[in-house]
């Protein structure tokens, strides 16, 4: 029953882009199937994105004695991609058993990403896992490992500030706008000029609830074009300053060699808008907005360098949060190790009997309390009754498990199932777990007979494979 988990992979740190594109897995499902056929493995899951390839493998120790499994996997990988094994070997890392688990948790929690804390990797991991389940190469251990890694990612996200601050220029601008105005709903923005970054910032502002977006450009037709795609309103470049009285946020990105918005204009604008705050984002180089504008009360001006600095600071803040995140990963990896150890026949039988004994004892105590004074004979009879009912009830399931253990490849599936049916690992299962997989909308999941407050039965956690 001894299993080994290991993980082979490469990422943006270990390999350059030319190596990454050479060894990217274009068809993950085929790779998983062929790897399972080529090597004596139990479970396989592969993840391939532009920044990394991770191959997670679970094998039986007794089936692969004398075989260098990591090497075999590496060879198969190189063959699939049509590359040299030696070239691949120098750029890959290998993690074995708990190191592999920790590494996977780090990847899921985006601690290993190029932009630490970015949310995409979790989505990519989820879709890879779904594919592996569909292909049938992910079973009990990978199921559990991946589900755990998703919950670790969620914990890291909610308990640390790793993803709380913007690490792109356009997000940093939106974040600052929120710090100045609070809610952006009902605010108005103006996009002066065009450019990828400026348009991105405007898009983020619109997504954050900006009510109206004016667009102006020296070439009016270009402004009209952009207005159409971004659902804004095009205005003439000449009337830009007049329009500013209604505008709270200005994003400027023109090719003008001199400043197009000057402090004295803004002073007039401020009077007209009764000093309501204004936020200027100047992405252009050379700058479009006179730096003196920042000296005016209730006006805030950030140019591209200021925003870059904000982004860099946020990046280093994320590094600090990563320490907390790694502590969470360690704790969860330990919990996984405990589960893995219990995924054997003997510990499961022990846990089952103990669970039954606990329930019997509790119910007996309740009944004795209700009965009041009883003589020793009755008490003994009751004790024998509850313990034999609970043991006899478990006799058949235990025999069933023992029979399955003698068969090849089915034991841990049933052991896992048993552990989940009786919730031997005391997992907290949320009410709406696997809502998408329910076919019948039955509200009465709670059993009417015997739910105790201190037990949380595993409900509706259906098997994936």
């Amino acid at each position: 029953m001894d299993k080994s988990i290991f993980l082979i992979g490469l990422n943006h740190r270990s390999a350059g882009v030319n190596v990454r594109e050479k060894f990217a897995l274009t068809n993950v499902a085929d790779f998983e199937k062929s790897l399972l056929a080529a090597c004596p493995l139990r479970e396989v899951m592969a993840l391939s994105t532009c920044n990394r390839v991770e191959i997670l493998v679970v094998a039986d120790n007794d089936r692969c004695e004398g075989v260098d499994l990591p090497e075999a996997v590496l060879r198969h990988w190189a063959e699939t991609c049509g590359g040299q094994v030696d070239a691949l070997r120098t750029h890959t890392y290998r993690h074995v058993s708990m190191d592999a688990v920790t590494h996977l948790f780090c990847v899921a929690a985006s601690l290993d990403s190029m932009v630490m804390g970015e949310p995409q990797i979790l989505g990519q991991l989820k879709s890879s896992y779904r594919k592996a389940v569909e292909t049938g190469t992910a079973r009990v251990i990978i199921n559990r490992l991946l589900h755990k890694s998703f919950s670790v990612a969620k914990r890291v996200r909610t308990e640390t500030a790793i993803a709380s601050s913007a690490v792109s220029i356009s997000y940093a601008a939106v974040e600052l706008a929120k710090k100045i105005f609070g809610e952006l709903a009902g605010k108005t923005a103006m996009l002066v000029g065009a450019g990828e970054m400026a348009e991105l910032a405007a898009t983020h502002l619109l997504a954050s609830g900006i009510e109206k977006l004016y667009i102006t450009n020296r070439t009016y037709s270009r402004a009209q074009e952009l207005a159409k795609t971004m659902h804004g309103e095009a205005i003439l470049f000449e009337s830009m300053v007049d329009q500013l009285r209604d505008v709270d946020i200005v994003i400027s990105s023109t090719g003008s060699p001199t400043a197009i918005i000057r402090a004295k204009d803004i002073r007039e604008v401020l009077k007209k808008r009764r000093n309501r705050a204004m936020f200027f984002i100047d992405i252009a180089v050379p700058r479009d907005i006179d730096p003196d504008v920042n000296a005016l009360d209730n006006v805030y001006l950030y140019d591209i360098d200021d925003l870059k600095e904000v982004v860099e600071e946020n990046m280093s803040a994320r590094q600090g949060e990563a320490v907390k995140a790694r502590a969470i990963v360690e704790v969860e990896a330990q919990a996984f190790a405990t589960w893995l150890k219990a995924l054997a026949l003997q510990p499961t039988i022990t846990d089952l009997l103990k669970r039954a004994e606990d329930v019997a004892e509790r119910e007996l105590a309740k009944t004795l309390k209700r009965l009041g004074d009883v003589d020793d004979e009755t008490r003994e009879a009751l004790e024998v009754l509850v313990s034999s009912v609970s043991r006899k009830l478990l006799h058949e399931p235990i025999c069933f498990l023992k029979r399955r253990t003698r068969e090849e490849g089915t034991a841990e599936r049933f052991i896992d199932m048993t552990r989940r049916i009786f919730n031997l690992d005391a997992d907290a299962v949320i009410e709406d777990a696997h809502l998408d997989r329910r076919t019948v909308d039955d509200e009465a999941i709670d059993c009417e007979c015997c739910r105790d407050e201190d037990t949380s039965p595993a409900r509706d956690k259906t098997e994936m494979n």
């Binding site: 105005f181 609070g182 009764r274 000093n275 705050a277």
Partner: protein
């Protein structure tokens, strides 16, 4: 009765725990801690109200109303009342960090000034008492909120303006606009209250002593506060002041009222307002 004896200790403990919990909750970015802090504060407020009722309806009610203990008690209660109102109306939870410590300080001061009595003029009636003291205390409580919001505004504005970067706790702070809204609310409601309080004081003085001005430092300071408050009110509502200037102004006005409340009452001999043991 045991309750009145235990009440002050309970109120102090609740306010103290509430303050500490709120600060810790803010530092750890834990909403649950912050909410429990507010629950503790509200519980303290309820007991505080009970204490006030007890003083007012107790056997020694009349001297009670002029006692330093009652007055400070009332001021602290007003602080929390205004905070709870602002929390309810404008959802400004962060003001707890100003309101709870102030209420705690005032309540402790109240209990330290047992035996201290204001020398009250004759013809003190319930109506005048609440017109004068109730309104002034309410406007002081409002000013305290504007003081806290003003300091926070100046701090955050400086960080944003100088591009010094925002630390985690500054990122958790409400927006500049929120702080400015507190200032607006205080100017709007606080100034009429303060004017009413002062005017009723002068009418009271006239009825009591047949003269409006006794030229004592308290009255002069109060007039100075009124002028500054009026300036703030006017600039904010008529001239459209926003942001830094009204924040600085509110801080100054609050500090002046504190000087006039504590400094003058305890240190300088005045006609009506001195606290003498």
């Amino acid at each position: 009765m045991i309750l009145p004896e235990l009440l002050p200790i309970l109120v102090i403990a609740l306010y103290f725990l509430g303050t500490v919990l709120f600060v810790v909750g803010s530092a750890l970015r834990n909403d649950r801690l912050k909410n429990s802090a507010l629950v503790l504060g509200a519980l303290g407020f309820a007991l505080h109200s009970l204490d006030l009722v007890h003083i007012m309806t107790g056997a020694d009610a009349t001297p009670g109303l002029t006692a330093g203990r009652f007055l400070f008690c009332l001021l602290g209660w007003g602080m929390l009342l205004i905070f709870l109102l602002l929390w309810w109306r404008l959802k400004l939870k962060f003001l707890a960090v100003v309101a709870m410590p102030l209420a705690l300080m005032l309540y402790i001061t109240a209990n330290a000034t047992v035996g201290v009595n204001a020398k009250l003029p004759p013809m003190l009636s319930g109506l005048f008492f609440f017109l004068h003291i109730g309104t002034l205390f309410a406007s002081m409580a409002l000013l305290a909120m504007a003081f806290g919001a003003g300091l926070a505004f100046l701090h955050l504005e400086k960080r944003i303006k100088t591009k010094a970067g925002l630390k985690q706790f500054q990122k958790d702070m409400p927006s500049l606009d929120t702080f400015d809204r507190v200032n607006h609310f205080v100017a709007l409601c606080g100034f009429p209250l303060y004017t009413l309080g002062l005017a009723s004081g002068y009418v009271w003085a006239w009825l009591a002593a047949r003269r409006v001005f006794s030229l004592d430092p308290k009255e002069l300071l109060a007039l100075a506060v009124l002028v500054l408050y009026a300036y703030l009110f006017h600039q904010r509502l008529a001239m459209g002041w926003r942001g830094r200037k009204p924040a600085v102004m509110a801080i100054c006005v609050f500090l002046l009222t504190v000087i006039s409340m504590l400094g003058v009452n305890f240190l300088v001999p005045t006609t009506f307002h001195g606290f003498k043991p």
